[in-house]
Amino acid sequence: MDFQYKSPTFVSIVLCAILVAGMSAFNSAHSAEVKPAETQNAQPVTDCFESRIGYSSVTRVENANPKYGYPNVKCSQSTGAVLWWADPFEGTIPMGDMPEISDDTRGDFANAVVKPRQPQLMYFNMGPNGCESCHEGKTVRYPKDTKPRLIGMHQDIVENSLKLMHGRGALWCLNCHSANHRNNLIDRQGNLLSFNQPQKLCGGCHGDIYIDWRAGIHGKRIGSWATGSKKRWWVCTECHNPHTVQVARFNRLKPEPPPPLPRGMKNADYERAGEAKH
């Protein structure tokens, strides 16, 4: 006590000296240059995919957002999956009319947008008129009925057309693809549907999933979180391939790299000790 009353100025000066020394240390820490990281050497991945390889591809464009100098997407170095969108609505179109079902599943479709599926379909983009470049009734004649038969084409989509296992054999190509309008899908009531709106077709049978999807529970939506505001919806065929549902129901994915091990740890084998029990 006595000491403090006798020399407050001295205490102040000593404390300020410490403070100034601390500030200069703080200063030098902040002005230190950014160290080059290992990841800096690697070029960013430009050929990326959304959700799964081959379902929806995106090309990285540098400086797509001039305000921040963003690329349009940032992709994983190890897998090429799109991890980050600068603009969630890039390349989207309005979802189009959606039927009203009931109060529970009326859906938040006012500002719904989707990425069109047609540019992603390989055969659709082979000719100027889409699928009808070949399937116009002359080059390839329209089939008389929708009965299953062996097809010598499109074996990359379905290897053996007699063993198309959607619905365990109950459905065949022409139950969903319109026989006479090949640029469209056809539902069970005979309505023609765009490839961009597969949910109207799929929902005809998979009603429980469709209801969840409309309510925002099943599937993915990005963009704004607020109800009624703009959202990009993922449609069925952006994640599911209807042609291989039985043979390749959920193809496994390559994961992103694991977190770094704590300093001094060589491996994480201790974690796997419990595996034997299960």
Partner: protein, 353 residues
């Protein structure tokens, strides 16, 4: 100013008088002290570094919530100038207030999660974490054996106090006495490195900040650098944090990360759209954690992890809006919260879809 309502006037006085007045008092003779103690080398250093004045000002910066609007703008201008110079691109530090009438909530479907870790790396790309040495990630994905989850009545009811040969003392014996009921993190693998996911007989559970309604970290913080905003998100004023790591100890979810070294963030990977409480670059010796992407969600956009999930297992929204995705999940699915017994009331829900 809307954020200030969570700290009442009493606390404000306490905070103000605690640190700032002390510093003011100490430096009444600061001019003399500076002359006395500044060595020539330091004088050269501060002259050559254009950031020097800003650093001094930042040193005397108060708690962000207690600043006046003018002080806030000055603080943000300082940061924008420094980040723009350091990372060689135009950087904005936003101070968007949390929206009113909103309580942010999250729902995650552990039935759908495939453990691909895209959320983890999307978070890193968005939130300016240190990239390597140290590599900081805010989300941790646990790979757990399928037997680790049991919410059936017979499982949960096991292990009530039974009468033993010593009498009925309310001691739990048998049943679940030696095993957690509900969800157990026993044998969870955090560093799994499989060729392909999901692995058979395992399920995956990503864990990040659970944005508790009663956050133990906020209770533990001795300087109130971490607080809960009125949208329910627990945030940190990185400049006010003293790096004592009490919050890290208090958190039952291992959600907080400490910057043990100077963060190593390459300039071209830096995200220049930042928020003061969100993803602005951190310094050495401060705590950081998931903020539900404050820079995005306060402006209406979904968090980065929600957008990255390839299976749509992540749902984000307003818990006060009955039509939001999260409320739809809560209304129709089987939902649980992680470590519910800790009494933290998380706003991060797990469900089995």
């Amino acid at each position: 100013m809307s954020e200030e309502k969570i700290i009442d006037l009493k606390d404000e006085d306490e905070l103000r008088q605690g640190r700032r007045d002390f510093l003011k008092h100490v430096c009444t003779s600061s001019a003399a002290a500076l002359v006395l103690t500044t060595t020539p080398s330091e004088a050269v250093d501060s002259a050559s570094n254009p950031d020097a004045d800003a650093t001094v000002a930042e040193y005397f910066q108060g708690h962000f919530l207690l600043m006046s609007e003018e002080e806030k703008l000055k603080a943000i201008a300082r940061l924008e100038k420094r980040y723009s110079a350091k990372y060689m691109k135009k950087t904005t530090v936003a101070n968007t207030p949390a929206p009113d009438g909103v309580l942010f909530g999250y729902a995650l479907d552990i039935g759908k999660c495939i453990g691909c870790r895209r959320c983890v790396h999307a978070c890193v790309k968005e939130n300016n974490q240190s990239r390597n040495d140290p590599e900081v990630q805010w989300i941790q994905v646990m790979k757990m054996p399928k037997g680790n989850i049991a919410f059936t009545a017979d499982q949960l009811d096991k292990g009530y106090p039974e009468k033993s040969e010593f009498g009925d003392y309310g001691v739990q014996v048998g049943g679940n006495a030696y095993k957690t009921a509900g969800l157990s993190t026993e044998d969870a693998q955090n560093y799994y490195n499989d060729e392909l996911v999901p692995d058979k007989d395992f399920f995956y559970m990503p864990v990040q900040c659970q944005q508790c309604e009663k956050p133990p970290c906020v209770k533990a913080c001795p300087v109130r650098a971490t607080f809960r905003d009125h949208a329910g998100v627990v945030l940190i004023d990185y400049n006010w944090c003293i790096g004592c790591r009490m919050c890290q100890l208090a958190c039952p979810y291992h959600a907080r990360r400490f910057n043990w070294g100077e963060p190593n963030l390459p300039a071209e990977e830096m995200n220049p759209k930042t928020h003061y409480f969100g993803n602005r670059p951190r310094m050495r010796g401060v705590m950081e954690k998931c903020t539900f992407c404050a820079q995005r969600t306060r402006e209406g956009r979904n968090p980065a992890c929600q957008e990255a999930c390839p299976v749509g297992a992540r749902k984000f929204g307003n818990l006060l809006d009955p039509n939001s995705d999260v409320r739809q999940v809560l209304a129709t699915k089987r939902v649980f919260r992680f470590k519910e017994e800790a009494g933290t009331y998380p706003k991060f829900f797990y469900y089995i879809g």
